[in-house]
Symmetry: D2
Subunit: 372 residues, 4 copies
Amino acid sequence: MNQFSKDYLVVAQNASGRNMNVPLYRFKGRESGPKVYIQSSIHGAEVQGNVVIYHLIQLLKHTAIRGEIILVPNCNPVGTNIKAGEYTLGRFDPVNGTNWNRGYYYDESLVQAFAQGVKEGDSLDEVKSRFRDEVKQRLDEKLSQTWGLGLAHRLNLKLQQLAFDADYVIDIHNGPVSTRHIYVPEYAKASATLFNIPHVIFIPNQFAGALDEATFCPWWTLQNLLSEKFQRDIQFNVEAFTLEMGSQEVISFEDGKFDAVSVMSYLNNKGALIDADYQPADMRRVSVKLANYKILYTQQGGIVEYLVAPGEEVKKGQPLARVLNVDELENARATYEIAAPCDLITILHFPSASVLSGTQLYKCFTEYERLT
Amino acid sequence: MNQFSKDYLVVAQNASGRNMNVPLYRFKGRESGPKVYIQSSIHGAEVQGNVVIYHLIQLLKHTAIRGEIILVPNCNPVGTNIKAGEYTLGRFDPVNGTNWNRGYYYDESLVQAFAQGVKEGDSLDEVKSRFRDEVKQRLDEKLSQTWGLGLAHRLNLKLQQLAFDADYVIDIHNGPVSTRHIYVPEYAKASATLFNIPHVIFIPNQFAGALDEATFCPWWTLQNLLSEKFQRDIQFNVEAFTLEMGSQEVISFEDGKFDAVSVMSYLNNKGALIDADYQPADMRRVSVKLANYKILYTQQGGIVEYLVAPGEEVKKGQPLARVLNVDELENARATYEIAAPCDLITILHFPSASVLSGTQLYKCFTEYERLT
Amino acid sequence: MNQFSKDYLVVAQNASGRNMNVPLYRFKGRESGPKVYIQSSIHGAEVQGNVVIYHLIQLLKHTAIRGEIILVPNCNPVGTNIKAGEYTLGRFDPVNGTNWNRGYYYDESLVQAFAQGVKEGDSLDEVKSRFRDEVKQRLDEKLSQTWGLGLAHRLNLKLQQLAFDADYVIDIHNGPVSTRHIYVPEYAKASATLFNIPHVIFIPNQFAGALDEATFCPWWTLQNLLSEKFQRDIQFNVEAFTLEMGSQEVISFEDGKFDAVSVMSYLNNKGALIDADYQPADMRRVSVKLANYKILYTQQGGIVEYLVAPGEEVKKGQPLARVLNVDELENARATYEIAAPCDLITILHFPSASVLSGTQLYKCFTEYERLT
Amino acid sequence: MNQFSKDYLVVAQNASGRNMNVPLYRFKGRESGPKVYIQSSIHGAEVQGNVVIYHLIQLLKHTAIRGEIILVPNCNPVGTNIKAGEYTLGRFDPVNGTNWNRGYYYDESLVQAFAQGVKEGDSLDEVKSRFRDEVKQRLDEKLSQTWGLGLAHRLNLKLQQLAFDADYVIDIHNGPVSTRHIYVPEYAKASATLFNIPHVIFIPNQFAGALDEATFCPWWTLQNLLSEKFQRDIQFNVEAFTLEMGSQEVISFEDGKFDAVSVMSYLNNKGALIDADYQPADMRRVSVKLANYKILYTQQGGIVEYLVAPGEEVKKGQPLARVLNVDELENARATYEIAAPCDLITILHFPSASVLSGTQLYKCFTEYERLT
């Protein structure tokens, strides 16, 4: 059986004066190899990732590894316990609305300054190590600044201190009512087929505050700058992904096992496992550019029946939803249908039948293509 | 096509100074007959009843009726629009936690005083009419009292002013994740099989604040008192039901049509429809006494997979839920199962996987029996 | 310096699988004497009581006591940490709206059965002890029942297990925007002037679920039954109070010291302190019967300026609030005043300017009198 | 008496299928002159601005004006009515956490493209008018796009359609517990002393989504580009301000009158009033650059007494807050003080005593100076 340690990371303190901490599992490899960082439930209602990490721990106990694998389940001790009615208000800080997954650190100007200091003869390993130190020093500075830091921000930076050491970062989320999908940075397209996830979104080198971006944007930018500077292709082989493991507010142990095997397949292909035979499934995958991953908002309020399940292909004009206008039940405006504006795949939909105008009804793949 | 009118009932005013009103449909019969009152969505997230009323309106347009049928969809203009995260915080007033279905009026002492005034020769119709006037006068007094009234309380009494005129009252709700079930006062057992609802709870003459109770408790108490007083069986034939039409936060137009037909079957059997052929379906129904309709609470917190769907029969000891303890993923306490304490039917379960200790995990029929 | 111990009482478990506990301080007397139980913040936003207990601990360290004094600050680990916006949603369970101070146990039939078993010769101390055992056994049974218990209910009963042992129970709360006031059971009127609290509400022997009632109702009922049974005046000298120490959402250390001294004065007069000279202040106090402690609800919605501070005397007709109707700013309906329906003292008012119709605008003493 | 019209702008629809609209008052001048746009309560709990607009309407009825003045009180019909507990959850959309004041439109690239099309001979008025048309066309396009728009976003753009026509835009807010302060774009420094507001923050040409920025950033950028292009100083004299009129959740009619007079003084100085004698008060004002307007976050959780009122000057090291650690009442960690990290003026503080770590305790002017 594999050795591992368990620690707790203090990330906040509640009004009762008690530390709020996050469990941290660390599997050490017998051989040197890549560092892997996996977390789940930064959004409190998105709990299936905890089941995935549970299964990963069981599998890793009996799988020899290279390098190091860090697992951080249930990584947001505030978000996972804020109830509002029967559901979990887990996507944002209830005090100020801050999305728990938007406060990671990235500063393009730091990368530019660092790139200038890299010299032709520097080995990639040296550069990688120095760059990590630089970024982690910035994180330290931010975490210790006199005026303090916001709750979500501090939580994010504490986790990023761990994640930025890793070569492979996996952040496990869920959609509202959702099919499984994955966000993959464009430069790591080849890795998209290493997971058993049917829907793939390729994202550009743009930072919006999430952990995957905060991981790959610096390396992506740095390799671009250095490739240009030295006129050759430079790759740091750091990859980061957001995995959306189905719907929030539900768990399934069986699905979680499937998901864990999917992650093992990726890790195996990246050399993190020794003598393991996890391989990606032979399955249909479709991909889309981020710009073609579109949100359909309601234009009116009402009560909605969702007519299309997540993951289905829909033709232009086909009805996606039927809306009841409870104020006009007696006349022709009582119901109306919302049709697909173009051919699309519904990836997720809103989890409540009651919607105001301006609600994210569906998120859809448009202009998608088969991924092979 | 049947005639009907539509009005709006002002039940509250919001902080913007705007009236909050409730739509009110009134179908008048060609012949005299019973009065029927049907409302939906007093709990804001319980929206399927609106679909049922939508279908009822379509059916009633083309069905001749006796008496009068009042339909009040979406009867809580506050609760239906309070969002907390993506879901609707519709069960209680967000200001003070008051359940929207607990502020109806019933005063046993009023019934006792009234019963004393009834004389041997009084016709049942006279008694019924005088009793209605008496109760409605109390409602009027309460609604106009100098010191005012709480929001939920006022809403309830405004609706009760309409409902207390009716012979048959139907209040349409939903459970969290739920099978269809119905609350029936014990004296109206015979009506349980007039609806197409498989699970039936028989409730005693006890008042806890809900509309069905506020309707049948006064009549039940009065007929008991008068039966005793005059030593013969006196029946007012007023009935009231809470119908739980599946799960909250979702609607289905197809199911709503089935539900509407079920209500029409009841109305037809009560003489409210003319030349209609709506009849109850030949289906399996099980019933339980309220005291045997039990809540299973969690004893610990964790992340739950619900292993049994609402409506399933379960043997004692069979697992109902598997719980993940996210703080102990590495050891034997990582998961545990919650078993059925006795033979039961799961009627509904909590709608979120994340539970604290003391959460209503399941509500269950125990000691149930086949209803024929 | 006085000896004391500190423990933690586990009252719940959160979704992360972590125990939620409550600190418990126990000061043991050098001599035998009364048992005292003091808790604060069962409603999460009502935090001044924690400051009072802080000061009590400092004072009790240096005051010799008789008997035992148990202090339970911050006794609701769930309610104190549920934020909804910047404020604390502490009055009710966010899942189901259950008021955290309404689930204590009282069963009149138990008292009646117990009273029947009491014999003429039994000493009061024996009776007291047996009654305590009986009630506490019921609490134990409820806490260990197969089907579990709701979160608020369990929390309440766990605290009641401690409180029911005590002779003097003090439950410290705050109002919304409030002056200091105290609820006193009618039979303990004499104790009202032992606290330095200017506004006193005398409450009858009625149970609505709160800790003070759950403490005094059983004893009150029992002494009534036994007094009647044995035709002499029987007193158990158990007293319980709800103290409302000003406004929620704010604390003041200075006021907390004043409040702590007020509690010490009560304890001293009840023989709980040795050689202490805490005495009640010579101050103006007014009292009211519970039935005359009235709630003024808004009849319309709007934006409110509260014109009268808590604690002020107001004549009938004098304006209490000026309301802005933001939907009619241009005409004569733009503002209106809400006048006092009778002579009164405003005790507390709603803490937000934005109100729907049916909001508890003010709670007022009417028909009050000077307490001497 | 001045003429004015009143309209309603539909900005959303609720789940009950009802339009949510915003009142809109339009005062037309006798002479041509500047356009003014004033709104309040985009954040639902910030209600004092409605009182200010109420008083402005009374004053404007009797003051002759030039140009046009549009007043939009209570401009967020969703935010003003979302209660969470007794308070108003008005700063962000309860569904997704979106700040109601961050979705206005600004696109620097549009300004750059427009600037290129401006020719030397074009009159400023022509340029202004064309630029307005261009931006408003973009707003129209966004509002009518096929896939729809988020609720807050649509609300913002609907209001911006009105505001972008104006020369002077005033957006009235409140802080949590706050002194009066104003955000002024650096280029309009001279206008800071036209209001009777003691604390002034000068902000640079940076867009973060708020209405004031969405108003001045385009004009500021455009005048910079054209000044450079044509090598002369070009000014469009469009100004926009965020006014923070004290604390949220309270109103004062008297203060509102003072505030209205302050706005009238600004309008008078800008030529919007005819024969009026409103002049700014002779008062002490201090100013700060945005970069020196700092947030002090808590590093620990606890219960806080705020020791310094908003608006006070504090020396480095002086205590700002005293924190009670309710979990350690018996020892030396029971309380601690948070000291000012440098000389500062406290502008606002958090409105609840209960804070988690990472809470915005105070916002402070540092490195401030006297404004003359």
